[in-house]
Symmetry: C2
Subunit: 196 residues, 2 copies
């Protein structure tokens, strides 16, 4: 459609997740009129991320060294491992400020449709980290794939006699009972706690 | 939040139009796991656009030479000039295949709130192009700013005795009368044509 360089940019932008043809065009025109230094900073940030960022040898989190900030932090409780699907889940949990243990990033969840079985996930590496661990907290997503992965891990951990736990399912804080779906509400009933 | 390079990339992506913090994070994680060659192609496309693409000296359209493809094309009718707000509007009109004249990109519309007056637009350059022009088609957007700009241009062109026209307003083809807003419907009545 457009002349060479602009169309190339629109094509490349359109290949990013969540960027449709209209957004790609809009971003490309923004870049055309944007300050050159700003655009070069973006181009450079892309290059630097691919050159510098790798995955932690220990837990699979993103890192700029062989191991990540969390694995390097001496204040973390090394007897707790929280298992998540993706590196971004680590950040989500860190933001709560309520967990001081280590993490283990699986790199996805068991999903036969996508061809992801236990062998494609970093489960073997998790099993190699279980010495002196008092609890593994399974924090995979509360959906079919995440639950399947949690069940699989729970069985593995049981045979290895390592205590495993799963994040609670229930009503979201600040939510409205009226708008809760029936499955969540059912889980909230199952997980109800006696007061005092 | 994240380690240096990843957070830098999220910040740069988040500064793009239509990319919120969540999308920026999603794109950044996509880039982390994407093929290095693909990411380098995107970084390069950004650089090339800033280095190679400029604006046509004649009409203000995007160009990779001093003048754009359309101004260089000897088959175009040089006695017609279609005035648009932005370079992307040129492409929109080109796609219809129903116009074979030249363009003039104003670089926006008159908008006092944004501090855009006639002096900030490429109106002076338009007035310098009117020799041997038989019609100027004003194709600014059909909104307040576009209409104000069209009215301003129409007056200027009248004093210079250059015929000016404005794109028709009316019902969109394939639309449904029921869903037309009252202003569009009113314009469709005003612009009605006798059949045969």
């Amino acid at each position: 459609m457009y002349e060479g360089a602009v169309q190339d940019l629109i094509d490349e932008l359109g290949a990013l997740p969540g960027v449709g043809p209209k957004s790609a065009q809009r971003i490309a025109f923004h870049i055309l009129s944007a300050d050159s230094a700003d655009v070069m900073r973006l181009a450079n940030a892309l290059r630097v991320v691919k050159e510098k960022v790798r995955f932690c040898e220990n837990c699979g989190n993103i890192a700029e060294a062989p191991t990540c900030r969390i694995c390097q932090d001496p204040r973390r409780d090394t007897t707790l491992i929280c298992v998540v699907e993706e590196a971004k889940d680590v950040e989500v949990i860190e933001r709560t400020g309520s967990y001081r243990g280590l993490y283990h990033v699986l790199g996805g969840a068991i999903d036969p449709i996508k061809g992801l079985g236990p062998e494609q996930l970093r489960i073997r590496q998790l099993l190699g980290r279980l010495t002196n661990v008092r609890e593994v907290i399974i924090a995979t997503d509360p959906n079919i794939e995440g639950e399947a992965t949690a069940t699989y891990l729970a069985r593995m951990l049981e045979t290895m006699q390592v205590p495993a736990s799963r994040l609670a399912l229930g009503l979201p804080v600040g939510g409205d009972l009226e708008y809760a779906d029936e499955i969540t509400l059912g889980r909230a009933f199952e997980g109800r706690r006696l007061l005092s």
